[in-house]
Symmetry: C2
Subunit: 386 residues, 2 copies
Amino acid sequence: MAGGEIGIGRALLPFLDWRVPLHRRPRVRPVSMASDSKSVSVSFERLRAHIAATLGRVGLPEADAARVGELMAQADLQGSDGHGVIRLPQYVKRIRAGGINVRPQVRVVHERAAMAVLDGDNGMGHLVVSRAAELAIAKARDAGVAWVGVRHSNHAGPASLYARMPIEHDMIGLYFAVGNANHLPPWGGVEMLLSTNPIACGIPAGEEPPVVLDMATTVAAYGKVKAKAKAGEMMPPGWMIDREGRPLLDPRRADEGFLLPIGGHKGFGLALVVGLLAGTLQGAAMGRDVIDFNRDHVSTTNTGQAILVIDLRAFGDPAAFKAQVDRLVRDLRDGERMGGVERIWLPGEQSHQRRLRYREQGIPVSAGVVADLAALSAELGLPPLV
Amino acid sequence: MAGGEIGIGRALLPFLDWRVPLHRRPRVRPVSMASDSKSVSVSFERLRAHIAATLGRVGLPEADAARVGELMAQADLQGSDGHGVIRLPQYVKRIRAGGINVRPQVRVVHERAAMAVLDGDNGMGHLVVSRAAELAIAKARDAGVAWVGVRHSNHAGPASLYARMPIEHDMIGLYFAVGNANHLPPWGGVEMLLSTNPIACGIPAGEEPPVVLDMATTVAAYGKVKAKAKAGEMMPPGWMIDREGRPLLDPRRADEGFLLPIGGHKGFGLALVVGLLAGTLQGAAMGRDVIDFNRDHVSTTNTGQAILVIDLRAFGDPAAFKAQVDRLVRDLRDGERMGGVERIWLPGEQSHQRRLRYREQGIPVSAGVVADLAALSAELGLPPLV
């Protein structure tokens, strides 16, 4: 796949050719380092405590540090390793540069029966967004449905963390976020005015794992590009192209190109709409106003996120709904497969399995991340993770 | 592009190759028959009145027939010609077969401050869904945000018709629907258990046209396949594949294959989530329960649709929001373009321009559709459209 002259259509072949077994297609295989001999296995509790201790050392109150530690470790636990502890050095750098407020006063700026907008006071995104999810859950219990958005928030990890929160309350979560750096031009353009703006949705099931969709509106999320760079691996073709439309495979050259939207113009449209809903509507940054938090560690990002929560009780009997979801999940999973496909996976099923496995066997953390964390711990005078 | 051995990746090349100017890519060019010498130009008013008269003749009350005529003609006016008057013979066939209730009693089955579920009593989808949109708009005015879903509805035309309705009230519309025939297998499977389940979103702007996204979660909507068949044209590669994964180009052979989801597994996940939100949550059909309304004209479809309406006033000053949308739209449209791209189009901009042009010059209706309508009019003892 070397050479700069490959058209993007051809470059996408390994992702789109139905004759290639699904398990051989790069994008279906999650960025997993479980089988990487250079990774280290760490318990959830140890990872959680390490993150909390680190954030406490740079100024977060104990309860807040514990909350962020819990959420970041959950990201790694479900295999969202581009959004978990790998981000800790960056967060610390931003906190120490004054780019994040460690003692934010989160407040309600707009409120109605079925909505609110919170100002996160430039606090850690995990704190601001989990507060929004909790408020939306409380409001949905009365109004049936509730939307809570945030402004002056920050990067909050994987979208599915928040879309999943309503599930245990027999509620559906639908989550939208503005990404923290623009890597996507409009369809046909080369100016990167949009981010990977993800959509996530968590839907309760009965006996089956919940349906949890978490997707960037680009073929790959930028966190996956960073994880590839950290692991010293090349990206599969189809994730990024350069300004001339040629595949860009080296994640260290990510600055020279941009991400591709799913479905071409449709993914551009989705990224735009998600950004308007999660950003502009909440009075948060969108388009030219988005701060690239990989380069700028000081400026307030004014990140916007929003969650819609739907209470199943308002729509009838939650148990009946969940039985329908079970039936549908089984119909889809047990149906006839294309040749070479070993199993049909439902959205969220792989991360569900990882969560169970990593709880028992420990969470794999790559050697590169371990080294970065060791340097950070030494700098802060803390014991290392491992 | 002949031959059955073309891999789907290669087949998608014309859609994905950034070096092909956008205006030459098949999927960007809407299914437009404006330049077709065999099409006839009809005024919006004439088309609206013809549809209303036809539906009145088969039993719809005058006001209901007028409402459906208005909405169906609006579909053609904006260029959604796979969802407008082309469907009239099929609707009439279903009505005469007893598959649609011409005098439905639409009623509220569940209600809270910010939500409702309507039972459409198997009425015309246009009537049921526009009622849902109106109720959601009224509820959002108080609660800030409102979700109204429907069960026992029917095919209602293009999703954007309803997502657009809140715009004139300074509100955002977000619309989800279950398609009326399953053409999509789960990713890796061959059993068609999902439909094209569209997402639409209408967002008010100030001086610019509103941002209106209307996308099937498949590369092509099935209505476009039907329009190709009607026009006697082949489909571009990438819309459908057969059970062996080979491109399927002949729309008359559509029964032998299935549609491709956008972004592979992501589009499958989106179609599933949209179906759960628009169908299962409302107590409407999803998965195996979906009736193929192209083959079965009698069985109740129990179609589900849902709209979320967000009142801009609850989030601050609508004028300020709309000015931000204008700024963003202009930034995106006026940015640097890839070589060969003449213009960057925002979602909904092309249909906005068509609406203005067709109002003035008339709506093009293809010769094939005109012939079908003439036969229908003769059968019903009505004057022909043209």
